[in-house]
Assembly symmetry: C6
Homo-oligomer: 82 residues x 6
């Protein structure tokens, strides 16, 4: 069952997080959403996982996407400066 | 029929969105427009879809483009801070 | 005839545009100029077109370059905020 | 033993560092976390290491991710200006 | 003769340019310097030219580097706003 | 002998440089440090050099990393504006 009700639901109410670590987690979520947008079938994504999780270059590329989103989230939170 | 009337029409009146989630959707649109500009034939793009939607590295690359546009849209909206 | 008189002419008088959509068009122009700089022969570029226009990964990479330039153009225009 | 207790623990309390060099070290940590998120099995990551550490293109790609995170950390620290 | 006297000379006195177009030209120079740093032999670089100038993916990658440097040069010039 | 005493020493006391050109040199250093972090064996890096120095795509990728770091260094120096 590939039903993904969250696709039409609110999943990104805010870019503001309590801590940098929660901001990093949000950057991961944003990266995954970018993939899920183009490949909405959760089953296919699950099947692809062993492929890219074993490929260092794919892992590095994913880490780059997370880094790009983390720039946005960190700026949104004014870098969690006190 | 590959007629794409929207190519000459207004499709990007503003970068301002109500919510971060709508901003993310706009980033997806901008990413797709970047592709459609170089490959304006919607039929060809449709034929390519199964190819890249099955390729984890292509999906990661698309997610990176979305992340880059989301930086722009988020900054335009001052990160939807209250 | 690959004569390209515009190479020495003014093609980028300003980064300011009326609308976001014109800004996106300028980002496309900047992306193309970046290619034309290294491969100034318009004939060669024309011959390459079918190759990359059929390759999803090339199209995604082009869309990434456009996204990078769009960041610049959007910032230059203060995101066309009213 | 792939037990990674730190996954649920606080590993990113702040983006603020004393020096640029510590900021660079943090950028490396962030890059590695981006990989560990997708491939949480430390044993697999250890096995992959000889592969990418011998591949110049992988090393360059890792350096790019670090550079992206360093932008964020440097901005957070206002570039360690005095 | 691969003597490159300019390597030790001043080639980047300023990021300020009169016009956006000169700024774009400077971005191209910066991109080329980034290559020349790693491959300082001008003869080798000249031999490589036909290879990458015929490869659309290489040309797109070069255009991306130019776009990244153009962001820097454009910001330095406050986007040549009047 | 791969002893690299500088690994534990201060190599990045500041992002501030006198000139843009010194800033560009610092961006190169940062790019190289990002590689040396993952492949700390200087001998291996030396052996890899002919491989990537002959590969235009590797050289372009290195130039991209330098460009990313140069953004950071240039911002840190307020673009060396007078």
């Amino acid at each position: 069952d590939n039903h993904e009700p969250e696709a039409n639901d609110a999943w990104l109410p805010s870019l503001i997080t309590e801590t940098p670590q929660e901001g990093f987690a949000l950057a991961i979520t944003l990266s995954q959403k970018g993939v899920a947008t183009t490949q909405p079938d959760a089953e296919v994504r699950k099947e692809q996982r062993p492929e890219y999780a074993q490929d260092p270059d794919s892992l590095i590329a994913i880490s780059h996407v997370i880094a790009t989103h983390f720039q946005t989230v960190a700026a949104a939170n004014d870098y969690w400066r006190e």
